[in-house]
């Protein structure tokens, strides 16, 4: 009798426990559900009376692929894709190069350089960007992808710490052995350490590829004054919510948001386990 009571209590706590998680998950998903539902709405403005659209349609997605002067989604997508690819190559190279030099190699300027990086990381990125904007304007590089790519990738070397944390776990003895066998430092880097560190390479690649998709501020500063066909997805979608446009484009904004989120989500899922390792650094070794 007593045992049965305990079992009852246990099942009821398990049910309660899962119901609690369910409620939280629903709260967290409400805006996402609203995003997806609204993107299938026939009405173009914001539906303020009901949560679900009164009439469903896929017109918003069709409209997205038939660009007008305001919404040029395919063009924006391509723009962002190009910027993301170039940034991905440059940033990944920079990050891995700096991480290898500071982690595996020992040279006199190593510590001072790392300390300078710590101090520079404390400056709000916004602050230097305002000045960078002037410099780019002086050289006529605003409203161009070259400028935007430079902004994303030039200082990317400062974000080397996660990759360094990973390289730190590469056994020192291996590198020493390679050096004794007459292997040049460049070969150790390219043929030994990089192949051994595939997870962190994947993380760095995805991370730098995602940056232009997720970023809003820098794109707004650099591309703001340009024409619609030159925007990235973030700026294009933001402009759709302008007060004069929102009633005609809100549901298209939602459709665009859904389309952009799908590839990003997939990449993000792949990356999330490295994300955790990165933040907790070498500290989590069990």
């Amino acid at each position: 009798m007593k045992i049965k009571k305990m079992k009852d209590k246990r099942t009821s706590t398990i049910v309660m426990h899962n119901v609690l998680i369910g409620i939280l998950a629903v709260i967290w998903l409400i805006p996402i559900v609203w995003l997806v539902c609204t993107s299938f709405s026939e009405y173009t403005g914001i539906n303020t009376s009901t949560f679900f659209p009164q009439k469903w349609s896929i017109a918003n997605y069709i409209k997205l692929f038939h660009p007008d002067t305001v919404a040029q989604f395919p063009q924006w997508f391509m723009n962002t894709f190009i910027v993301a690819c170039v940034n991905c190559v440059i940033s990944t190279l920079f990050v891995l190069m700096v991480a290898y030099a500071t982690s595996i190699m020992r040279f006199p300027m190593r510590k001072p350089l790392m300390n300078i990086a710590v101090i520079l990381n404390l400056f709000p990125g916004m602050l230097s960007m305002i000045a960078v904007y002037f410099v780019l304007k002086t050289f006529n590089l605003t409203n161009s992808y070259a400028g935007l790519i430079m902004v994303y990738s030039a200082s990317s070397g400062l974000g080397y710490l996660i990759a360094k944390g990973f390289f730190d776990t590469v056994p020192r003895a291996l590198c020493e052995a390679a050096r004794i066998d007459g292997c040049s430092e460049a070969r150790i880097f390219l043929q030994m350490v990089i192949p051994m560190s595939r997870p962190i390479v994947v993380y760095t690649v995805i991370n730098s590829f995602l940056a232009p998709w997720m970023d809003f501020v820098f794109a707004k500063m650099i591309l703001n004054a340009g024409v619609s066909s030159k925007y990235t997805v973030a700026i294009g979608l933001y402009k759709m919510l302008d007060k004069s446009l929102i009633n005609d484009y809100f549901t298209q904004f939602c459709a665009g948001g859904v389309l952009v989120s799908i590839p990003i989500s997939i990449l993000f899922m792949i990356m999330q386990k490295f994300y955790v390792e990165g933040i907790t650094g070498g500290a989590v070794k069990g």
Binding site: W34, N115, I116, V118, T138, M214
Partner: protein
């Protein structure tokens, strides 16, 4: 990552001076003890290399020297002499008799003068470093020859750059990028903070000039007429700190609780639930936050629902709301609370991911023995889980706080175009109740071209972040653990 952050500025400074000291002492010995060719290298960078038959290096150094001299004569000389005044000739239309047209005179552009002078200083600094290094390496060549050692050919020297000196090959481009796109811009803005560069002084049509500390005085409340700036600064700073504190703490604790909940043995389908929460952060912030902003708009869906269930009426009755809608994001107080709540929505899944990673590694035996000794779940949480979490993620917590001080996205995307301040004093200095220092700074530059005040605010933000990091690392965590895990 966390361990690295512990390097303090104090260490950085002392390390820097040590390096500088070593640098100059080498230079001193080279000048004092070098032979005639080494001494000649003081003037002609390539001289020493010619003596020791390193002709390619000699050519490279000579070309470099020539480049620096040409740069100084033809470029820097146009700007650096005007650095003291930042230009004196205002842009004007003058009638040109030759072309019979109105043309601009040969005017000064204060911003160009500032930018290119700064650029010249950096080039000269680098040139001096190269010059001193050059002396050092030529002197080493002399010593090597005296000792009868082998002197490298150019090819052998180049080989060093994929061998022992590979770090130079690796670091030169990234460092160049950081210098051009981070250090020079920061220095530039530090300079701008001491000028009167604003909407009334916009190059090229107007000049701006040095004004000393007066912008700082304005920000800290001095200067009668512009006293609103001091008032706004205190208000904005207060909210920035409140925001940073609450957003960090709420998401941190929320993340730990959520991850405990998800990772508990009682959870069915933990992977599925985790996926549900992660989806919300995989959607880019500019989509999700702009959406949430419309969700909570004055005439948005949430307000409709609230008035349908008579919540709005109830709040009106008890005097919390004076309008016929709930001003979620458009009135002070309401907006502050909503922003922190929405940030919980944004931030908790991130923290949940991190906490999950850390919690998986809590020594199982500790939890077991605590349970056997009859510890209640809450006691285990307070005495084992939390201290362990704090130990591992303490440094990340500090960085999170600093990141939140600079958390532009959440505030800007939620309140831009939606929130308008009714406080005249704040409006006079283009601030709002919900502004962080960074969003205020952004608005000052983007909409009001008030670069001088934006620069001052930027410097203040940096000082706050740097002070906080220093104090936190020295007193809370302390110690440099680099290499512990190597």
């Amino acid at each position: 990552m966390a361990n690295e952050k512990k390097s303090t500025a104090a260490e950085a400074v002392s390390g820097f001076f040590k390096a500088v000291g070593g640098f100059f002492s080498n230079f001193g010995t080279a000048v004092a003890k070098g032979n005639i060719f080494v001494k000649l290298s003081l003037l002609w960078w390539g001289a020493g290399y010619i003596r020791y038959k390193q002709y390619v290096k000699a050519v490279i150094m000579t070309v470099l020297e020539a480049a620096v001299i040409l740069f100084s004569v033809f470029f820097a000389s146009q700007y650096v002499p005007k650095f003291g005044s930042l230009g004196t000739v205002k842009a004007e239309m003058v009638f040109n008799i030759d072309t019979m047209k109105n043309e601009f005179n040969d005017y000064d552009n204060s911003f160009m003068i500032l930018l290119f002078s700064l650029f010249s200083f950096v080039v000269w600094l680098v040139a001096i470093v190269i010059w001193i290094k050059n002396m050092d390496s030529v002197y080493k060549l002399q010593l090597m020859e005296e000792n009868g050692e082998h002197i490298n050919t150019f090819q052998e020297d180049m080989k060093l750059y994929i061998g022992e000196k590979f770090h130079i090959t690796l670091l030169s481009l990234p460092v160049l990028g950081v210098v051009v796109f981070t250090i020079i811009p920061i220095l530039l803005l530090v300079f701008v903070a001491f000028t009167n560069y604003d909407q009334q002084h916009m190059p090229p049509s107007e000049l701006f000039t040095w004004v000393g500390f007066s912008n700082f005085i304005t920000l800290f409340g001095g200067g009668g007429l512009t006293a609103t700036f001091g008032y706004s600064f205190v208000r904005v700073l207060g909210w920035t700190l409140v925001w940073a504190f609450f957003s960090t703490i709420t998401t941190y604790i929320g993340g730990i609780l959520l991850s405990l909940l998800l990772n508990s043995a009682k959870t069915r389908f933990p992977k599925f639930w985790r996926l549900m929460f992660v989806i919300t952060i995989a959607v880019p912030q500019f989509v999700s936050l702009l959406l949430v902003r419309n969700f909570f708009a004055d005439n948005g869906i949430v307000n409709t629902i609230c008035s349908n269930i008579h919540l709005t009426g109830f709040l009106q009755d008890i005097g919390l709301v004076s309008t016929n809608h709930i001003p979620f994001l458009s009135a002070p107080g309401w907006a502050h609370v909503m922003i922190i709540i929405i940030n919980i929505w944004v931030g908790v899944p991130y923290q949940m991911l991190i906490a999950t990673g850390v919690l998986m590694n809590i020594p199982e035996d500790q939890l077991e023995s605590a349970k056997m000794d009859g510890a209640k779940p809450f006691q285990i949480f307070a005495k084992i889980t939390m201290p362990y979490m704090l130990f591992i993620t303490g440094p990340a917590l500090v960085t999170d706080f600093v990141k939140n001080i600079n958390n532009f996205n959440v505030i800007y995307l939620l309140t831009q175009d939606v929130y308008t301040t009714t406080n005249q004093a704040l409006a006079n200095s283009q601030a709002q109740e919900v502004d962080l220092l960074v969003t205020w700074l952004f608005r000052l530059t983007q909409d009001y071209y008030n670069y001088k005040m934006a620069s001052v605010i930027g410097i203040v933000v940096f000082i706050i972040c740097a002070l906080f990091t220093l104090v936190a690392f020295n007193y809370m965590i302390g110690g440099d653990k680099e290499g512990t895990y190597q």
